[in-house]
Symmetry: C2
Subunit: 103 residues, 2 copies
Amino acid sequence: MIGPGKAELLERIDDTGSIAAAGREMGMSYKRAWMLVETMNDMFRDPVVVSSRGGATGGGATVTDMGFAVLKEYRALERLTRNSGKPHVQKLQSLLTDMSEEK
Amino acid sequence: MIGPGKAELLERIDDTGSIAAAGREMGMSYKRAWMLVETMNDMFRDPVVVSSRGGATGGGATVTDMGFAVLKEYRALERLTRNSGKPHVQKLQSLLTDMSEEK
């Protein structure tokens, strides 16, 4: 439903106030950034981004309360799985071939 | 390094005693199953699967202690991230559009 890319896009929209600028920072086409926003806006009960095109201020995009709620849960999930999984990831890494020992 | 596919392959090799049979159960070509095993064998400090081709018993494959150690850590990691992440996943799901309410 939401992954690293969409979460980063939301954060960058919040930073830049612009869907196009946020996408650009991520090397995404304008069209792709808009599509991702539309996908998220349809996916959640309320839009995660509202935008106005043109006008005196040249339009802009704002992350909504719903957007921030989604972001908050997603980042919490990410942090948690990273922290609680750490001992197992470290154990697995210790089992990997040590490249410096490679014959 | 190891994901759901490789973990399942290891478990099925343990069940069937055969790389080919394990791959077949997963809809994988013989070649792909062998390649995944070789990748894992190179990746870890010791082989995760040892195999003999032909011979009186028609050959076979065995998951090694290293293989079981890797599997154990991987499954523990999976369980843990699933359990600890559950409240956040549920919260995110509660924010999703309810399809049954779709206009």
